[in-house]
Structure formats: C-alpha cells, structure tokens
Subunit: 345 residues, 2 copies
C-alpha cells in the first residue's frame, strides 16, 4: 500500500517533524513509503528512504535529491524530457505552522490529493488554543478558565498566580512558561510574544492529573488508543517534548477507572465528530474532582502517537480506507446563460 510521509515545513516545529517522520518510517515499514520533505522555503524534495536521518536535513543534503512540485492529483518531478508523477495518499506529518494551521490541508484539497490529517477548519480551530476554547465551549466540553493577552494590550493579568502563559498558536510547549509571581511575569510574556502576538493564560494547577487519548474515525466508528498518563516534570519543555516525538515503544496503559476511560472517550468523541474526520488526533485532558477538562487537541500528534496503539500500521490502513469525500461543486453557468439570453446575446 502506497503512502507518502510529508514532513518539515516553515514552522518552529520543523525539526521535530523530521524526528516524527523518522520514527513513523520504522512503524509503517509494512507500507510502500515515500518521503516528501517540505523545506523552510516551501520547496518539496523526494527523499531517498535510506537517507531518512536527521543529519540529511541539517546538513542540507536533501537539496541533492529530486525536487518535486504540486500538481493536480499529486506531486510531479519535472525533467528536460518530460515529467514523472507521484500519485499516492499523503500522511501530513508537518507539526505546527503549515501542517496544523490549515495550509497543507488547503493545498491537499485544492490539488485534489487524498491525505491523512486535519482538514482546514479542524486545523484552524485546533491550532489556535483560543479557538479551541470556543470550539470546546460550543460542544459542552469543559476547559480551564482562561484569559487572552495581545501584544498591544496592557500587561495586566487577572488570573491568580501561579498561572501558565502559552502562545496561542504553537504546540510542543514552545514559548510556554509557568509564572509563579509578579517578578516573573515580564520575562514570561517577552518569551511568549517572541512566538505569537496572542497569548492564552490559564491557572496552573500543580500536580493536576493528566491523561492523553488518541483516536480516529473510520467506517463510522471511532478507534481509541489506550489512555496514557504522561510523565512530566512541572510540564514538558521543548527539549523533553522533542525527544518525546521519537517515541516508538509502546507505553503502559494508565491505571484508571472504567468510568474515567468512558468520560475521556466521550469528550474525545464530542470534539472529534465531525470536524476531525480524516485525521488521527491526540487529545490531552486534565482530570479535576472527577471531571474531565480538555487541555489541548493535537491534530497531528508527535510520531502520530504510534506508541498508544497496539497495531499502528493497521490503524493507518483503516484510516486510509475511510478518508472523507470532498463534495464536488459543478458550475452550470445557469445565471450567465439566462442573463445572456435576456440580453439577446
């Protein structure tokens, strides 16, 4: 079964996308895989599978490999004497900007390429933590209280200390700080504003229980992963998460009650349906006083959360067989015809 892994991108998470792709390569060895690298200038390269190592990209060796371009139905390698076409479904594994902000989804849809990954609306609503709050609220899924701070606003925060400051549109903990007292505020805001003009501020609850659950919908039903209780210090910083993206061994299932599993699955399903069709996503939750709170949605989780599934290859195969259809719009020119006729032309 053919599948192209699309990775890289003009994103703060470019490097972890490379790590993710290398990890997924091992886990999907059953597939006939191709590797398409999107560099930071949005050039695409077809990467030799044997060269799928981090240093290939950091040393710029990908530039010696064939450059390809988007074309209707796939990618194309142009040469002096004709062109070679690559037509296969794509697994969008570009984390952060490009991959999760709706750009890649728009490109795949526009060029009519079937793909695994969030569609453009799902991307936009999950990429921005502020919009995820709106989405969750509209669906009745609880999230922590929050406030929004924009770069042009006064640096006044109403949330009580300690709180957590997050750039609205970044994953992988980039630019995130816990602020324990007023003296730490300015620095934390400076750091976060380096990455985004909009910040989300939430109470920081030390020792809160966290649970991750991944899943996807295929043939009308959701396949859930096991529930994981992620290891953490205060929270995972970028470097720890970076290593996290190369996870491939299976993890231990969290020892949680059936009731909690059911609560997590219900919340997952509410968020997933129907926006995230076509994607395998991971939702990160808090549990507070027996209730489940959505922390964030990862529409393209690190290494596709492969380590949470027993049969990851089987899951991807199942998902590939159940990608959402695009509704074709056929233009009939009825209005122009009727107006031209009325004008006697």
């Amino acid at each position: 079964m053919k599948l192209a892994i699309l990775f890289g991108g003009a994103s703060f998470e470019h490097e972890i996308s490379i790590v993710s792709a290398i990890t997924v390569k091992e886990k999907l060895s059953r597939f006939d895989l191709s590797f398409i690298f999107c560099d930071q200038d949005h050039k695409f390269y077809m990467i030799d599978g044997a060269k799928m190592k981090a240093v290939t990209f950091s040393r710029g060796e990908h530039r010696k490999m064939p450059q390809i371009v988007l074309t209707n139905g796939g990618f194309e390698q142009r040469g002096l004497f004709g062109s070679k076409k690559y037509e296969m479904p794509v697994l969008n594994l570009i984390h952060g900007g490009d991959g999760e902000d709706g750009s890649i989804a728009s490109l795949m849809d526009f060029f009519n390429i079937p793909f695994i990954g969030p569609r453009k609306e799902a991307s936009m609503l999950s990429f921005d933590k502020h919009y995820t709050k709106w989405l969750a609220a509209s669906l009745g899924v609880k999230t922590l209280p929050y406030e929004i701070l924009r770069k042009e606003d006064k640096r006044a925060v109403a949330t009580a200390y300690p709180f957590i400051v997050k750039p609205a549109r970044l994953g992988s903990s980039i630019g995130v700080s816990i602020v324990k007292e007023a003296a730490e505020l300015d620095y934390a805001l400076d750091v976060a504003f380096e990455f985004d003009n909009v910040l989300v501020i939430e109470p920081f609850i030390a020792g809160v229980k966290e649970y991750n659950l991944a899943g996807f919908s295929a043939r009308g039903e959701i396949t859930y992963s096991i529930v994981e209780e992620p290891q953490k210090a205060d929270f995972l910083d970028f470097e720890k998460k970076y290593l996290d993206f190369s996870r491939s061994g299976n993890v231990a299932e969290a020892s949680v009650s059936d009731t909690l599993v059911q609560q997590l699955r219900t919340a997952f399903k509410t968020i997933y349906t129907p926006l995230f069709e076509g994607a395998l996503i991971r939702c990160d939750f808090f549990e507070i006083d027996g209730e489940v709170y959505l922390n964030e949605v990862n529409p393209i989780p690190g290494s596709m959360a492969n380590y949470l599934f027993d049969d990851f290859s089987g899951c991807i195969q199942k998902l590939l067989g159940s990608l959402p259809d695009k509704k074709a719009i056929r233009v009939q020119y009825d209005y122009i015809h009727s107006i031209s006729q009325a004008k006697g032309k």
Copy 2:
C-alpha cells in the same frame, strides 16, 4: 501599477465572481491589470482583458487561453522552450468556497504571493456564520441570538416563528429561507441542507433597519466607506444579489445620525482589527432599538463594494501599499545539531 484579478473558483458563487471581476475591471482601469481565472477543476488561465465577458467562461472559451500554474512568487506559463513568469500582487475576488474559506489565502501565503483579501484565519472565521458568532461574542460585538442545526440532528427548532434559515458557509443568500410557520419548515431545511450540513437559524425581524459599511486598514488607520442602507424585499435572494455584484455606480449615503455612523464604525473596527489586515471587507449590520448588531462579514464583498467608495482606485492602491508582512521562520537545526553531537555523529 500591476495587479492580477483572481476570480472563478470551485464555488457555488463561481458565476458571481465572474460578474464581480468584470465590474472591478472597469473600476480599476488606472491599473495595469491581469486576469487570472480559476476554473471549477482548479486550473488557472491567463485571460485576455478584451475577452473579459461572462460568455467567455460559460462557453468555455477560456480553455483556449494560456494555462498557468502556481509557483514560488507568482504564476508561471510553461512552454516547450522555457517558461514565462507572472509576478504581481493578486486581488482575491473568488467569492464563497476557495476564495473565502481560506484555501486561496493559504495558497497565496504558501507560494509567497502578496495579495489583497482575508488571510486564512480571517477567512475561516467569517466564511462560517457559526464561527462569526463566536468571533463577535469574543469581541463584545452584538449579533442576533441563534441556534445551530446539523443534518444529523432532529428537525426541532426552538426559535419562534418567523425565523431565517441559512447554510452556515455560504454567502449571496444561497439556500436561505424565511420560515413563517411550521408547514414551511421541512422544505426550507431541505433547501438549506442541499448546500451545507450545518445551518444557522435566527429570528427574522420584519422591517429591521439594515446598514452596510465597508472599509480597510492601511498604514495603521481604517478607511471607511459611506454607510449604505441596502434596498431589499424581504431579503435579497440570489438572483437579486447576482445583479447586485455588478454594481458600479455610486450609491446614496444613508441618511443616518452621526451617532449611528460612529456606532457602526466602532463595531466595524472591532471586528476588523487585527484579523482582517490586508482585506477590504464589508460588514452588514442591523440597527435595533438604537443598538448595532453584526449580521455578517463579507471578507470579499461583491465587486469589492466599489460603489461605496468615492475613489475606489485610490483605496486599492493604498491597501496594496500596506499589505501585512508574513513573519519568516528560519530553521537553524539547533536541536538536531546538539543531538547529533551528543551522539558523537
């Protein structure tokens, strides 16, 4: 000054986009214009300005004109002996799907082409009337109360009759009905569900005052159009709106109090800033008991609402000189370098 008008698209509003483009051509004769037609299969054609007539497209004559493709920085016409590049800013005039749903914005950004039009987030939030409600609520701009009905829901509506049923993601009144009594409900829902799986239902207020206001931001300040009180029957249906898209003569300013103008401008500015930078938008408002309610945001208004501006050419020129910058992300491969070193590779 060079400018390409991009129009057409795989959209229910394909035909009115053609009408819009023809109208704007006349109004921007001061520019060195090109015309790029996107057909319903997402092929692009460079249209001869002399052939900018509706029948060119309804008869399929555009297919005899040069086909062009997206490339970094612009469009490209490929030939046997090399290719010709077109590099100029683009005015996104694709109404509805593609143009207003974030696809074209994603493409322009991805291929690094400067453009007039809503960026991808602004597109997504204004294209879907449901999300526009979320946006307005978060900014403290009033809208009518509403409920959402999905295709899979029971056909039970809580809003009192009469109410208005709208597909969430279509402009130009397509699929919109006023439902005056229970007997009319099923048909109205059938019609609306032809176009979208999600409907927005709002109370219908007969004779409510409507006001339209267009504008854009350039060099840090907003240029407002005059306020128009649109002519209407019960509401504009598609055929009337279609003709509406070819408007080019200036309209009379609504005779409204300075207070109301100020209220409308304040609401406009609140919605516009900072999401809509780079776009000329039209906001349609209701006035009820001295208060202003946002009805909808048109991020690519019909014929760019040229008829609401005294000096439309001057406006477009000003906007072109003030398009938002994209923040470039440079990848340094710091993490891969440090990890490779740690591994001794």
